[in-house]
C-alpha cells in the first residue's frame, strides 16, 4: 500500500507518480518546473511563507496568441506611452501571502517587468513592464508558467479602464471634517452665555461655522435632495424626503438666525446629522471585492479565438468580429463562442455552463454546436453560423429582466414607515404652529422649524443600514455573500423556494456509481483500478475514487482514446473502459452516465453514475416545507425523478426538461400569482431565473470561480444552513421594527421641546447624536446575537 505523499508545490495528493527533485516530492512535471523556476531565481521563500501554496501550471500553448494583436492589447492595458505599459490582470488563484509575495517579485523572473502590485481583495495584479523589450503576451505566459494564469474574458474587453467611484468616501470626509470643526466652534456658546469676550467674538465663530456647513449641505448632503426630489416626482414619500426637509430647514433657519443675530444656529446638529447619515450609507455599502454579482456570459467568454483563413492560416480573431461562415479552431478546454457546425475533429462538449447538465456530449462532424459549450477532447474545427450576440445562449441576455433594477420593484420597510412618519410630522408641525399663532405669534415660525428639525428621522434612516450592514458581514463570515441590504429585506418576505437540480442540490465533486453485470475477478478489479489511475478524464477520476484500494501495478500497455475510452494491458489481460460502442456493448440507455468495461473483448458490465445529493438535503427540505412552497426546476431529463421523490417531502413539485427561458417564465407566472420567489441555482442557464426571482442565490463549490449574475452567493458547504439564513433575515426585520420604536421615543422627547418652543441648539446637539448612536449600538448588539445563533 502506498503512503500518501502531498506535492511540495501544490499540496495535491501525488496519486499516480511521485517526482522527486531536490528531496522534495512533486505530483507532476508542471509543479516541478515551477519549483525549478523559483529556485533558480532565489524565490524559494515562496514555500516558506505558506505550505504548498502553488497551482499546477496549465497547458497554454497557443492560447494567448491573440495578445500579439495591437487592437486587443489596446483594450486590455491601462496605460501605454510606447515604452511602458501597465495592465491589470485578474488571477483567480491568488489566495495567500505567498501569492502576494511571488507576484510582487515578478521582476526577479523577468527583468523587463518594472513592477507588479497585488490587490488581494480583488485578486488582481497590476503589472508595469517595458513594452519595447517585452510584451503583454510574454507577461501572461510568464504568469501562466508559474501557475498563476490570468483570466482574460470578453468582460475585460468592454470595460477596459474602470473608474472607481470614491465619491462616498469624499463626502464622508467632508462631512466629518466640517462636523469636527463646527463642534469646536459652537462649544463656547453652549455654556458661557453673555460672557464679555465671547459676546465680542461669537459673530466670527458663527460665520466660520456657516462657511463649514456650506460644503456639507451642497456637496455631502446633495444626494438626499436629489433622492427626495426623485421620490416626490414619482409621488413617493421615501425616507429621504423628511431628511432633505430637515437639512434644508436646519440650514435656512441657522443662516437666518446668525444673519439677524437671533441665535447661534444649529450648524453643529446639521453637520452631525449629515455625517451620521453618510456613515450609515458607508456601512451599508460594504461590498465583497473578490465577488462579482453582475456577471453575464461575457465573463465566461474568451476575448479571441483562432480563425482559419481561406488560405489555411491560423490567426487570432476577436470574438465580436466573428462573422457567419468563418472557420474557427477550438482547442481542448476552450469555449465555443458562437453557434456553429462541427467541420472536423472529435467534439466532446461540456454544456454545463449553458444547461447545468453535467454530462458532456459527443458530436460528430456536421452536428450543430451551441455557444457556451466547452470542448473537452482535442482540437476541433467549426464553422460559425451566427455572430456572438445572436447565438442561442447570449440571446437570453436580451430579455428585459436584465435591464431592470431589482431594487425598484419593492418598497423597503424604511420607506414604508417614512410615508406615515412624514405625514405625522407635518401635521404636528402645522398644528403646533396654529396653536402658537393664537397664543404667541412671534414664536410660531420658531416652533414650526423646530419641529421639522428635531423630527428629522436620522435614527430611523440609520436602523436598516446598520442592522442589514452588520448582518451582511456576519453572513459573509458564514460564507453566504449577499449583494446588498435590500436583498436581505427581500429574503425575509419569501414564500416560495425554487431549486435548480444539477450543481445546486447535487454536488459536483462526489458521485456515486453502481455496478451492473458479471462479477469482476480480483485480477480484473486490480487492473481496472490501475488503468483508471493513469487517466485524467473526470469520469475516470470519479470512478477511481469510488473503487476500493488495490495493489499498484505497472501496466504493460496503456492508451487513451479521446472521447471514447481507455485501453490497457497487463500480462495476458486486456481491458477496455469507456463508452458502450468503444467497449462493444449494445446498451443504448441515455438517461444516465455510464462507463462500460470489457476484458479480453468479453463484455463485463457497466458502472452507472448517479447524482450525489448535498449533505443534509432532505433535512433542509423538511425544515423548509412547513413555511414555503418548494419546487425543483431542472434542465435535466427525468432520470433522477424516482430518486428525488424518495428523498424530498411529498409536496415538493418536480419539473424537468426546463430550458433557461422556461425557468424564467415559470417564475414570472408564479410572481404574477403573488408568490415571492427565492431562486437557487448555479449555472448560466439559471441566469434568467435568478434575475427574474425576488431573490436569486447562486450556489458555488468555490466562490472564487464564476457564478452567474445573482443577488447572493452561497458557498456549497453552507447549503444545509439555508433555512437559518432566511430565519436570521426575518429576525433582522424584527430588529429594525424595534429600533423604529426606539427612535420614535427620542422623537417624542424632542418634539416636546420643539412644540413648547424651547428647543435650544444644545438640546438638539445632544439629542440627535444620542438617538443615532443608541440606534447603532442597539442594532449592532442585536444582530450579533442573531449571528451567534447561526453557528
Amino acid at each position: 500500500m502506498m503512503e500518501q505523499t502531498t506535492c511540495f508545490h501544490c499540496g495535491n495528493d501525488c496519486n499516480t507518480t511521485v517526482i522527486t527533485f531536490n528531496d522534495k516530492p512533486f505530483c507532476c512535471n508542471g509543479c516541478k518546473t515551477v519549483y525549478e523556476i523559483f529556485s533558480e531565481n532565489d524565490l524559494t521563500c515562496y514555500y516558506d511563507l505558506e505550505n504548498a501554496p502553488g497551482a499546477i501550471p496549465s497547458e497554454i500553448q497557443g492560447k494567448y496568441d491573440f495578445l500579439n494583436q495591437n487592437n486587443i492589447i489596446e483594450k486590455l492595458v491601462e496605460f501605454d506611452d510606447g515604452h511602458t505599459q501597465v495592465a491589470t490582470l485578474y488571477i483567480p488563484h491568488i489566495h495567500c501571502s505567498s501569492c502576494i509575495w511571488v507576484l510582487e517579485n515578478l521582476n526577479k523572473l523577468n527583468v523587463n517587468i518594472i513592477s507588479s502590485q497585488v490587490n488581494f481583495g480583488k485578486k488582481t495584479v497590476r503589472v508595469t513592464y517595458n513594452s519595447e523589450k517585452s510584451s503583454l503576451k510574454e507577461t501572461v505566459l510568464l504568469l501562466g508558467s508559474i501557475g498563476y494564469e490570468p483570466y482574460i474574458s470578453l468582460d475585460d474587453f468592454n470595460t477596459g479602464k474602470r473608474n472607481v467611484n470614491r465619491s462616498l468616501i469624499y463626502k464622508l470626509g467632508v462631512a466629518g471634517f466640517a462636523f469636527g470643526n463646527v463642534m469646536f466652534l459652537s462649544f463656547p456658546e453652549y455654556f458661557e452665555v453673555g460672557e464679555y469676550w465671547l459676546e465680542q467674538y461669537k459673530h466670527l465663530f458663527r460665520w466660520i461655522m456657516f462657511a463649514f456647513s456650506l460644503p456639507v449641505v451642497f456637496y455631502a448632503g446633495r444626494d438626499y435632495f436629489i433622492s427626495a426630489f426623485k421620490g416626490l416626482k414619482a409621488q413617493l414619500l421615501n425616507i429621504d424626503v423628511p431628511i432633505a426637509l430637515g437639512i434644508a430647514v436646519l440650514f435656512i433657519r441657522s443662516s437666518i438666525e446668525i444673519m439677524f443675530d437671533l441665535g447661534s444656529g444649529f450648524f453643529d446638529s446639521l453637520t452631525g446629522l449629515v455625517f451620521f447619515l453618510l456613515l450609515g450609507k458607508f456601512f451599508q455599502h460594504k461590498t465583497y471585492n473578490f465577488l462579482s454579482f453582475e456577471r453575464d456570459y461575457k465573463s465566461y467568454f474568451p476575448i479571441a479565438v483562432t480563425k482559419i483563413t481561406s488560405e489555411g492560416i491560423e490567426t487570432p480573431i476577436q470574438v465580436y468580429e466573428i462573422e457567419k461562415g468563418d472557420r474557427l479552431l477550438i482547442r481542448n478546454e476552450e469555449l465555443i463562442p458562437v453557434d456553429g457546425i462541427l467541420i472536423n475533429g472529435k467534439a466532446r462538449i461540456d454544456y454545463s455552463f449553458v444547461t447545468g447538465e453535467s454530462k458532456s456530449v459527443s458530436k460528430i462532424s456536421g452536428d450543430k454546436l451551441f455557444a457556451g459549450g466547452k470542448q473537452t477532447s482535442g482540437v476541433i474545427e467549426m464553422e460559425a453560423i451566427k455572430s456572438v450576440e445572436q447565438s442561442y445562449l447570449t440571446q437570453l441576455w436580451s430579455n428585459d429582466v436584465f435591464n431592470k433594477n431589482k431594487e425598484d420593484r419593492f418598497t423597503t420597510l424604511t420607506n414604508k414607515i417614512s410615508k406615515k412618519f412624514t405625514i405625522a410630522v407635518l401635521s404636528i408641525a402645522v398644528l403646533a404652529t396654529l396653536f402658537w399663532l393664537f397664543t404667541d405669534a412671534s414664536k410660531a415660525i420658531n416652533v414650526f422649524t423646530a419641529v421639522l428639525i428635531i423630527a428629522c428621522p436620522c435614527a430611523i434612516a440609520l436602523s436598516a443600514p446598520f442592522t442589514f450592514g452588520n448582518l451582511l458581514r456576519i453572513f459573509g463570515k458564514q460564507k453566504f455573500y449577499v449583494k446588498n441590504a435590500a436583498v436581505l429585506e427581500q429574503l425575509a418576505h419569501i414564500n416560495t423556494i425554487i431549486f435548480d437540480k444539477t450543481g445546486t442540490i447535487t454536488s459536483n465533486k462526489k458521485s456515486t456509481a453502481t455496478y451492473e453485470g458479471k462479477e469482476l475477478s480480483t485480477t480484473e478489479a486490480t487492473l481496472l483500478k490501475n488503468t483508471l489511475r493513469g487517466s485524467n478524464h473526470p469520469l475516470s477520476r470519479s470512478l477511481y475514487d469510488i473503487l476500493e484500494e488495490h495493489q499498484i501495478l505497472t501496466l504493460h500497455h496503456f492508451e487513451e482514446h479521446l472521447g471514447q475510452g481507455i485501453e490497457a494491458k497487463y500480462g495476458d489481460h486486456n481491458m477496455k473502459i469507456g463508452s458502450a460502442s468503444f467497449v462493444g456493448s449494445t446498451d443504448t440507455s441515455v438517461l444516465n452516465t455510464t462507463v462500460h468495461i470489457s476484458t479480453n473483448n468479453d463484455y463485463k458490465g457497466k458502472f452507472t453514475f448517479y447524482n450525489s445529493y448535498r449533505k443534509g438535503l432532505s433535512k433542509l427540505f423538511n425544515k423548509l416545507k412547513t413555511q414555503y412552497d418548494l419546487v425543483i426546476l431542472s434542465g435535466d431529463n427525468n432520470g433522477e425523478e424516482a430518486n428525488l421523490k424518495k428523498l424530498l417531502p411529498a409536496k415538493t413539485k418536480l419539473i424537468f426538461n426546463q430550458k433557461p427561458d422556461d425557468k424564467l417564465e415559470y417564475i414570472k407566472y408564479h410572481q404574477s400569482e403573488g408568490a415571492n420567489v427565492l431562486m437557487i441555482g448555479d449555472g448560466l442557464n439559471d441566469a434568467g431565473a435568478l434575475a427574474q426571482s425576488d431573490v436569486g442565490i447562486a450556489v458555488s463549490e468555490n466562490v472564487n470561480v464564476f457564478s452567474p449574475a445573482c443577488d447572493a452567493i452561497l458557498d456549497a458547504s453552507r447549503f444545509k444552513q439555508l433555512d437559518a439564513f432566511i430565519e436570521a433575515s426575518k429576525k433582522a426585520v424584527r430588529i429594525i421594527k424595534w429600533s423604529f420604536i426606539l427612535s420614535l421615543i427620542y422623537n417624542i422627547i424632542g418634539l416636546y421641546f420643539a412644540v413648547t418652543g424651547q428647543l435650544a441648539p444644545v438640546v438638539a446637539a445632544i439629542l440627535m447624536p444620542l438617538s443615532s448612536i443608541s440606534i447603532v449600538v442597539f442594532t449592532t448588539i442585536a444582530t450579533n446575537i442573531i449571528g451567534r445563533k447561526l453557528k
Binding site: N22, S39, D42, C45, D48, L49, S97, I100, W101, E104, N105, Q117, V118, N119, F120, G121, K122, V164, R166, I169, Y170, G173, F177, G180, N181, F184, W197, Q200, Y201, L204, I208, N289
Partner: protein
Amino acid sequence: MSVIYILLTISIIVAVVFFIAFITAVKNGQFDDSYTPSVRMLFEDEIVKEQPKPSVKIKKTN
C-alpha cells in the same frame, strides 16, 4: 485678545492641511485596498535576505 484671530487661522489651516492630506490619500487609491498592504509590510525581511542566499543554495545542491 486679537490673538484669537491668529489662533483661529492657525487651527483652521492645520485642519485644512489634514483634510487635503485625506483627499489626496483617497485619490491615490489608498482606501481601495485595505488588506494587501498589511501583508506586504511583513515581506520586507525576505527581500533583503535574498542577496546572501546563493551561497546557501550552492551548499544544498552539492
